[in-house]
């Protein structure tokens, strides 16, 4: 194969590939996980949870609250001031991490169900 043909082919593949990765990354989400199923082997993994928000606090641009889904609760954290979700039922997409021996979720996306 000639260098030019290979270059054209690889560049086109790259551009189409990047476009697809961006579109899929923004639209495909994991199924909802029960909070009681989350454990320390899932650190750094993405999960989606659904539950009710309680104990919301906003400290220095950091928002923390607890989400309960009937099976268990988990603390959720986002590094900015978001609106008030207290009492709302939400779906959260985020990454699991460990802070001071506790499993928490870092919020990437949050939507209010009701």
């Amino acid at each position: 194969m000639k260098t030019r043909t290979l270059l054209k082919f690889s560049l086109i593949t790259t551009l189409i590939g990047i476009y697809l990765v961006i579109v899929l990354a923004n639209n495909l989400e994991p199924n909802i996980t029960k909070i009681s199923d989350i454990n320390e082997n899932m650190i750094d993994e993405w999960v989606r949870i659904k539950g009710d928000v309680t104990n919301q606090r906003n400290i220095n641009g950091l928002t923390i609250f607890t989400v309960y889904d009937g099976t268990a609760g988990i603390r959720a954290v986002i590094y900015k001031d978001v609106g008030n979700f207290e009492g709302a039922e939400v779906i959260i997409l985020g990454k699991i991490f460990e802070y001071k021996d506790e499993i928490e979720i870092e919020i990437n996306k949050i939507e209010v169900v009701r």
Binding site: L7, S10, T13, T14, L24, A25, P30, I43, W46, N108
Partner: protein, 400 residues
């Protein structure tokens, strides 16, 4: 106690040799597997013996890691930049010498990191707040500097490829359905792309000479100096590691490819050792291995730290010989094998491994990354710019 420690070191050497030799396997992946099987191991022994095993394995891995990268063109994210200089030397029949250079770097890097350990324990915590403020600007400045040092005709393509790699990296790291996102990314960008080119161009390997490559003492010292400096910049911070240290070093000083291999060996081992020290002095884990040590032991004493560093020294010294033995075996046999078929076999192996480790969707990332790697080679641009896949996300992460 001592016999348990020695057995743990021995088992760590065996495990680290195996994982180092398997193409594309990063040490973090291993730590993850280990953690899920830790309950099983803890039936037989206590946590600190298990940690001795992990450290011995991790240090051995950082030595052996360069073999698949240089001989087979199948790196992981820590050895990615060694593929091209390593491959060039392999094509000249100097694969053994290339591995030896990385071993020189790894071993002396280990010694320096251990010698400076007391200094780091005392001083690094003070630098932390300062480093976290400057690292992102340092990375931006170095990338701009590297691009401006290129010939005029190469500046735009280099920037373009850096950004493409960055966008691909950012999207992949934020792709919820892909596990171990760095695996398809790095194997594609740096490994599979080289293998594919070797297959298309029908590359033939010459007979390999088993002799060291001559290098001036000045160059070794230069590599070690740069290695320890850049590793200590990244070791304290989240999200940056060996690959950023390598990019920072090459921005600071122009070095030839042999010195570069020593530098990469040094960085790979120093970052690992410093991560133990950082874990001890500020309780922040900065490598996958440190995360697991932290979880097994919680807070550990200075005495334990010194035990772990001694284990690293012993394991590292033995790993030197193990690496030489395998480099010899690879050198003697690689010219006998049909290289095209070997490349094809590794490419197939990696393509099977990607969906197993990272999920089916990761194949899309793998193919895209491979195509981007091939484009970079075809345009004659240095693969260093593909490190944009980690640098751009770090810049975005620190700035937003």
């Amino acid at each position: 106690m001592i016999e348990y420690i020695l057995i743990a070191i021995f088992l760590g050497l065996v495990a680290g040799t195996l994982t180092g030799l398997i193409p594309g396997i990063h040490i973090n992946l291993l730590a993850l597997l280990l953690f899920s099987s830790s309950a099983f191991f803890l039936q037989f022994t206590d946590p600190s013996i298990l940690v001795v095993f992990i450290i011995s394995m991790a240090v051995t891995h950082t030595f052996l890691d360069f073999l698949p990268s240089i001989f087979l063109g199948a790196p992981d994210e820590d050895t990615a930049l060694s593929v091209l200089p390593g491959h060039r030397l392999l094509l000249k029949g100097k694969g053994y010498g290339a591995v030896k250079l990385t071993v020189v770097g790894s071993f002396f890097g280990l010694l320096i990191a251990l010698a400076l350990a007391p200094f780091f324990i005392v001083t690094l915590p003070y630098f932390y707040p300062f480093l976290i403020k400057i690292i992102v600007f340092l990375l931006i400045a170095i990338v701009i500097f590297l691009i401006f040092k290129e010939e005029k005709s190469k500046r735009i393509p280099a920037l373009f490829l850096f950004l493409l790699a960055g966008i691909l990296g950012y999207a992949t790291l934020n792709f919820p359905l892909i596990k171990q996102p760095l695996f398809p990314l790095f194997t594609g960008l740096f490994g599979a792309s080289l293998l594919a080119i070797s297959i298309v161009k029908n590359v033939k390997l010459p007979e390999q000479k088993i002799k060291p490559i001559k290098i001036k003492r000045k160059n070794i010292l230069q590599a070690l100096g740069l290695g320890i400096f850049s590793s200590s910049l990244v070791s304290f911070l989240p999200g940056v590691g060996s690959s950023q240290a390598a990019v920072i070093s090459s921005g600071l000083k122009k070095i030839d490819e042999k010195t570069f291999l020593i530098l990469l060996g040094a960085i790979n081992t120093i970052v690992m050792i410093l991560s133990f020290i950082v874990l001890y002095s500020v309780s922040r884990p900065r490598t996958g291995i440190a995360v697991f040590i932290g979880r097994f032991l919680g807070i550990f004493s200075e005495q334990q730290l010194w035990l772990f560093l001694a284990v690293a020294l012993l394991a590292g010294s033995l790993a030197v010989f193990i690496t030489f033995i395998f480099a010899r075996i690879f050198s003697k046999n690689i010219a006998k094998i049909d290289y095209k078929k070997l490349c094809l076999a590794i490419l197939v192996f990696l393509t099977i491994l990607v969906p197993i480790l990272s999920g089916w969707l990761a194949l899309l990332v793998f193919i895209t990354a491979t195509a981007l790697g091939i484009s970079t080679s075809m345009l004659g641009i240095r693969k260093m710019y593909l490190m944009g896949c980690l640098i751009l996300p770090v810049i975005i992460w620190y700035l937003i």
